[in-house]
Structure formats: C-alpha cells, structure tokens
C-alpha cells in the first residue's frame, strides 16, 4: 500500500506520542526554599530533650 501524506503524518504522530504525552521523569527533585506550612524559629529547649517520636 502506498504511503499517503495522511498516513505518514499519522505514523509520525504515533511514533512521537509516547514522548510527547509521557510525564517527565525525576529522580531528584529541585530544592524548594519555600515551605508550604507555618514556619517558626528553632526551639533550643526542645532540641535539648529527646523526641517523643520513635527512632
């Protein structure tokens, strides 16, 4: 079967679709400098005491 222009464009699109649609992959994230929650100062009194958390 002859390759028409229509078929050619379709094939090119099918070939590139995974690259265009696929999400960009990241192993390491960029370091965001803005924390989305409330931020306060370090509390020296708290630091001196062992945490209530396990580990």
């Amino acid at each position: 079967m002859d390759l028409t222009r229509r078929h050619f464009i379709r094939n090119v699109f099918l070939l590139l679709a995974p690259i265009i649609i696929a999400p960009r992959k990241w192993t390491r994230a960029i370091r965001a400098r803005i924390y989305p929650g409330p931020v306060g100062p370090l509390d020296p009194a708290q630091i001196r005491h062992p945490a209530k958390w396990a580990g």
Partner: protein, 323 residues
Amino acid sequence: MNVQCELCPKACIIAPGQSGECRIRVNIDGTLAAVTYGHPCSVHVDPVEKKPMYHFLPGTGILSLATVGCNLHCKNCQNWEISQENPENVRAAELPPEKIPALAVEYGCSSVAYTYSEPLAWYEYTLDGCIRAREARLRNVIVTAGYANRPPLEKLFKYVDGANIDIKAMSDQFYRDVCGATLKPVLNACVLAKSAGVWVELTNLVIPTLNDSDDDLKKLAQWIVENMGNDTPLHFSRFFPQYKMRNLPETPADTLDRAKQIAIAEGIQHVYVGNLARPEGNNTYCPSCNRLVVERRGFAVIRNEITAGKCPACGTEIKGIWI
C-alpha cells in the same frame, strides 16, 4: 504537565499542583519539588541507642531531625502525626543543610540522624545534610524503611556511616496490606547498604498475629544470616496499638523472648529487645567468650568495656563503629 518521581518503587505520576504518595514531592508547574527541604518539623538530641543503634558510638547524643512525609503508610505507624501529615498542617523550622553541622557541634553531638519519619522521602535534604555533616567530620545515621530505588540509594550511601533499617516482615503480602509497599526493594536496600560499607542494624516490630509466628521469625533470621552476616545486630521491638491498628494487643513479653531465642538459634550474634524493660535485653555480649562488654539500662550506657573494637577478655572483634 505530569511528572513522574523515580525516587522510590512507587514511581508516582504526579499532576500539576499535586504531590506523590509521600505528600512532600510536589509537581510545581511541571517540575518535581521537594517542598520540605531545609524545614525540619522535629530537631532533638537523642541518645544514639534510641534509634536504635547499639553498635554505633554508644553512650553519645545524636542530633536527630525529620521533616514531615513518608512513602509508606503503615497502619501501625508510631510517628503518624508527622509521617502521614501534609506539610501545610505541621509547623517547621528553617534549618538549611549547611547549618546542620554547627548545630550538632553546639549541642555536643558527633553524629546526625535523619529519622522519625522517612528520610528517603525527603531525600534531597537528607543527602545534602549528610554531605555537609561529612565535610565537618561528623557521622551520619539514617533510620529508614529502606524503600527507594537503587540509584538514589547508591548516591546517598556514600555519605552514610550507619543505618537502622526496618524490616517489617518477611512477607510481601504484609508489606502490601499493612504498609502499602513491597518487600523486595527493602531487602535490596539492606544488602546495598552493607555492600556500600554502611554499618547496618536491623529492626523488626513484632505484631501479634501478623508477623510473630515461629516461621516468620525464623525466615527473618535466616535471611539476615545469609545476606547480611550473623554479626548484624537485630532489634526486636514491641508493638503498641495505635494509629489505624488499634484492634491488636501490645506484643506479649514472651513473644519477644521467643523471637530473641529463635534469632539466636539461627546464629545471629547480637539480638536486642526494644520497647520493653528486660534486664539483659539491651546488653552487648562478646560472641566468643560471652563476656558482658556493653551494659545498658534503657537507653543509658552503664559501662562500655569494648577496647579498640575488641572484647577486653578474649580480643574478639565486636563489629560496629565504636570510636
């Protein structure tokens, strides 16, 4: 545009404005961002024995920090208020990695622990903290579930001195049902850490009816002996009902004693019992002559007779990082 995070085996595909399962790796305008970077919600000086690390600078304090976030969702999580919470709801302090070494020194610590939640989920902060601490001749410890892909772990382990890795069970089904994860990557992380020269201690939280059969405990001990070596310390920890697992009772003391006996019978030299007062549960004995070499009460070291990493009586090397 969606992004895919390749830090851990979950490989979350994240839509703009959304986060991965860990809640802290966010797609901001098509870029994956670590939003808790440099903002720990917990900073404390703990005894290193609390991690637990028993063969790592015993009797010393360790600067311990965490941001919110975890890529596992264990129904029995002890620290769920920070591990399973959104950063928007938790107050944090500003502590960029470059300031960690000075803070550790200020509080008399010779090591830094990345702990409490999941340091692999806040990977970039852990990595940069480890690099800065190493530059300042401090030691680094991670306390982790070990659920990450090999390339980021390989990079991180270059800067890590000690790790306590939690093997939650030797059953993939347990990991899927209780933690929302899988077993194999965790075991791979343990082996990788050991092969990278990291001092590894292992923890197993023993939960009644879920992972406390003789077969479960034997499988764990056998895997450790075959893959990590029988000189790898194993900490059995007592379960307490909390978070989404309040239907089970706390682990009976007898169960922990049985776990310890099984592990010893399989050949593990150093087996400890945590979250439970046992007169001899926390002491370290020489594997050759059985002399008491480190005596502990709770997290306190009463005496440490290990000399240059050896038993003072017979000279047998006791594996660990002692000075």
